[in-house]
């Protein structure tokens, strides 16, 4: 029995044998004859056609309101209109009591700012209720000239001491900084600034005929680097106006109450406006522009090579003017079907390409698109085209222009590194 068990163990050990057949190669004597050869080439004609399209996202649909004042470059201002208020409080089924507004508090979120800015002033203006998505910069110049409501020095607030007593934290939810005018500043978890400004009945005029709707605009000024981005309703961080009022209850006793309203419209206007599309490729701006690049994959890359790196190279027509601290992202997405301006875009982020554009410099764009180009080379059923857009769109006055295929000396190219097909089969 013992012998049999020994045999059994022997057989099982044999059956369970695993291989270790890989050894260091000492070339060329003890290596196969083939070579893994890397080739690095700029394909100047792989991008065979390109088109720029405009009108994708308007400023009213943007995720932020860009506010900047860069003399000689751009003047951009936020505009928003708050939702209507009920004029009465319902006490019973048909019994109502009119509200009497005594003040309001406006909350705005500053999502981006230049931390190098000094003496950054945010100025609040009362705007006409007629502002909408068709409002131009020129149309709001008068109210931005004579209807200032409030102003706050953000740097001064930031340098104020933190108030962290229990009562304050209970009321505001966090430590705050405040100034003599009653402005309150909180710093969000993502370093955004949340600014509260109290408005009296002259600053926040509650007009019953307008159902309590009010409209405001924001502009900035600073010693330098005056650019900020305000949150909008589209990303859930838009302005909010809290009305404080009182009313008589059923016993004719005055009661205090408040109600918060969000924006029904928020946008920004800027000057100079985005120029119309020309023969170059445009990305960004308002309304948002995109550029479609159509690629022709050479037979070499489909049959005889494996792409290991692919870089899109595009030459800008010139620097994008704006605040030096500003930048924006260009996002390249695969086109599922080439339908021109309405081409559906892939949502597979594995194939996205991104590039950060800094303002006032005209650096050549180099965007890594390795996974996307590899997918085109491996799968001939895919549409070899990509769409360049700003991310997020309509969140900035900035638009970049690149030379297109119609400018042979500066046309878009693909810089591709590939490995030639290995010569299997030969000793």
């Amino acid at each position: 029995m013992k012998v049999r068990l020994t045999r059994l163990a022997l057989l099982l050990a044999l059956g369970a044998c695993t291989e270790q057949a890989t050894a260091p190669g000492v070339c060329p004597d003890f290596c196969p004859g083939g070579q893994i050869g890397v080739v690095d080439t700029i394909f100047t004609d792989m991008i065979e056609r390109d088109t720029a399209f405009s009108g994708y996202v308007e400023a009213v649909g943007g995720e932020v309101m860009a506010v900047a004042d860069v003399p000689g470059a751009v003047d951009s201002r936020a505009i928003f209109r708050m939702n209507a208020m009920p004029l009465v409080v319902v006490l019973h089924d048909t019994t109502t009591s009119p509200i009497i507004v005594d003040s309001a508090r406006l909350r705005i979120e500053i999502l981006h700012r230049d931390t190098n800015a000094t003496s950054l002033w945010i100025k609040l203006y009362r705007l006409p209720l007629t502002i909408d998505s068709t409002t131009t910069f020129a149309q709001v110049i008068p109210p931005f000239t004579d209807s200032i409501v409030d102003s706050v020095n953000v740097n001064a607030l930031l340098s104020a001491p933190l108030i962290s007593d229990t009562a304050t934290v209970r009321m505001w939810g966090d430590t705050i900084q405040t100034d003599s005018a009653g402005h309150v500043l909180l710093v969000g978890a993502d370093s955004s600034l949340i600014l509260y400004t109290d408005l009296d009945t002259a600053q926040a005029r509650f007009v019953a005929a307008d159902s309590g709707r009010v409209a405001y605009g924001v502009r900035v000024s600073a010693d330098s680097a005056n650019t900020i981005a305000l949150g909008t309703a589209d990303n859930g961080r838009g302005p909010r106006l809290t009305w404080f009022f009182n009313f008589l209850d059923s016993t004719s006793t005055a009661k205090d109450s408040s109600l918060s309203r969000g924006p029904i419209f928020d946008s920004f206007v800027f000057n100079p406006p985005t120029p119309p599309i020309d023969s170059n490729l445009a990305v960004g701006g308002v309304p948002a522009a995109r550029s479609l690049l159509r690629v022709k994959i050479p037979a070499l890359l489909r049959d005889s090579a494996d792409v290991v790196r692919a870089t899109l190279v595009m030459v800008p027509v010139g620097p994008v003017p704006g605040a030096p601290a500003d930048s924006f992202t260009i996002l390249a997405r695969a086109v599922i079907a080439d339908l021109g301006a309405k081409s559906p875009l892939s949502t597979n982020s594995q194939f996205f390409g991104t590039h950060r554009v800094h303002l006032n410099v005209a650096d050549t764009l180099r965007m890594e698109l390795t996974d996307l180009v590899r997918s085109w080379a491996l799968d001939s059923t895919l549409t070899p085209a990509l769409m360049l857009g700003q991310a997020p769109e309509a969140a900035s006055y900035t638009q970049i222009r690149f030379y297109s295929t119609r400018a042979p000396a500066f046309r878009p190219t693909l810089h591709i590194t590939f490995v030639r097909r290995y010569a299997f089969g030969a000793p």
Partner: protein, 366 residues
């Protein structure tokens, strides 16, 4: 219990069957590593008994004395150390190099069929380098692997024409494939993707062999064989990528039985591998072995030496080996198990290999 043991044995052999591996680094730059065509019984005698062993797929005439349908399989596992100057590596592989099925069709003729490893083409190598891409040095690691080989499918006929003389002929179909992969990994894997190339190479060839056994007395037997193979064509997706000459080969052997429990044999072979492309050499090999003890449980010893078919430089690498083993009949002689161990040392320009092999063979006569 015995039947269970047999079932387990067959299962073990089946598990080992799919794995084929390169016997030597010397074959990487050539057509591969030629198989031995020896059963465990022959292998443990250094190969000297291969010409007289019907279950070694070497000599067709040796099956002339098989009087009942019988099958024999061989398998083994090797532990190999390769040393390139200061570098070394340890490798472990399993093989299933031979299967022979034979049975009489008349009182004079015996047919045989089976397969054996003709060329083993399994290997894996890794190399490291730094290359310049886009003006920046990039560290890379390459892996080239090949898994598979060329099998020798044999169908033949043997006849004992005279009580002292037997002949055999066989047709050999050479066929097989390798799954090959070439990978390049970049150290900067966020910028550069790993390049992977895979393919399957199919091999085809033909050959023929003839052999004879002559008894000069009751104790002395001579064997001679000759074999000619044509070309080995390698195809990838229907396109021929190489066509290499295969060798003409011949050999002879002698066996002497000084008693009922002792036998000694010696063999020599010559193969013209030098037409097989770069790094190919003609080879001469010799072997000497003995089988002692009862035929039901013999003990075997052997020594072998000679040249390898492929290796860098103008001179063929050399090989020297020692082997030993035992056999055990069971079920009244209807089956036999053979165990063996072999130590090989191969030397060539820039490389020394040392191999330990454990061998297991099974012969069954239903």
């Amino acid at each position: 219990m015995r039947r269970l043991f047999l079932l387990l044995l067959i299962a073990g052999l089946a598990l080992a069957a799919p794995v084929l591996a390169q016997d030597s680094q010397f074959g990487i730059r050539g057509l591969g590593t030629p198989g031995r065509g020896e059963s465990v019984r022959a292998r443990t005698t250094g190969g000297a008994f291969a010409a007289f062993d019907p279950f070694s797929p070497l000599l067709d005439a040796s099956v002339a004395d098989v009087r009942r349908v019988t099958a024999g399989v061989t398998t083994g596992t090797s532990w190999r150390t390769v040393a390139f100057g200061t570098q070394s590596a340890s490798l472990r592989v399993s093989r299933f190099p031979a299967f022979v099925l034979a049975g009489p069709i008349s009182s004079k003729f015996v047919v045989m069929a089976g397969f054996s490893t003709y060329l083993d083409k399994s290997f894996g190598i890794t190399t490291r380098d730094t290359i310049d891409i886009r003006g920046t040095p990039q560290a890379v690691r390459d892996e080239v692997t090949s898994d598979g080989g060329v099998s020798d499918l044999r169908i033949g006929l043997a006849a004992r024409l005279h009580p002292r003389f037997a002949v055999g002929v066989a047709l050999h179909g050479l066929t097989g494939s390798t799954r090959v992969t070439a990978l390049r990994h970049f150290a900067d894997s966020t910028t550069y993707r790993t390049s992977i190339a895979r393919d399957e190479v199919a091999f085809h060839g033909l050959g023929g062999s003839a052999s004879a056994l002559l008894d000069l007395g009751a104790d002395l037997r001579l064997a001679a064989w000759v074999r000619s193979d044509t070309h080995l064509r390698a195809d990838i997706r229907g396109r021929t990528v190489s066509d290499d000459d295969l060798p003409f080969a011949f050999g002879g052997a002698v066996r002497w039985r000084p008693g009922t429990e002792a036998a000694v044999a010696a063999a020599v072979t010559w193969r013209s591998w030098s037409g097989g492309g770069l790094n190919a050499h003609d080879t001469f090999n010799w072997s000497l072995g003995t089988e002692l003890g009862s035929p039901t449980s013999p003990v075997r010893f052997g020594v072998r030496g000679g040249q390898l078919a492929f290796g860098p430089g103008g001179k063929a690498p050399t090989e020297f080996g020692l082997s030993a083993g035992i056999g055990k009949q069971f079920s009244g002689g209807r089956g036999r198990l053979d165990f063996g161990i072999e130590r090989l040392e191969r030397k060539g320009t820039g490389l020394t290999e040392r191999v330990w092999s454990f061998l297991l063979g099974l012969t069954v006569r239903p």
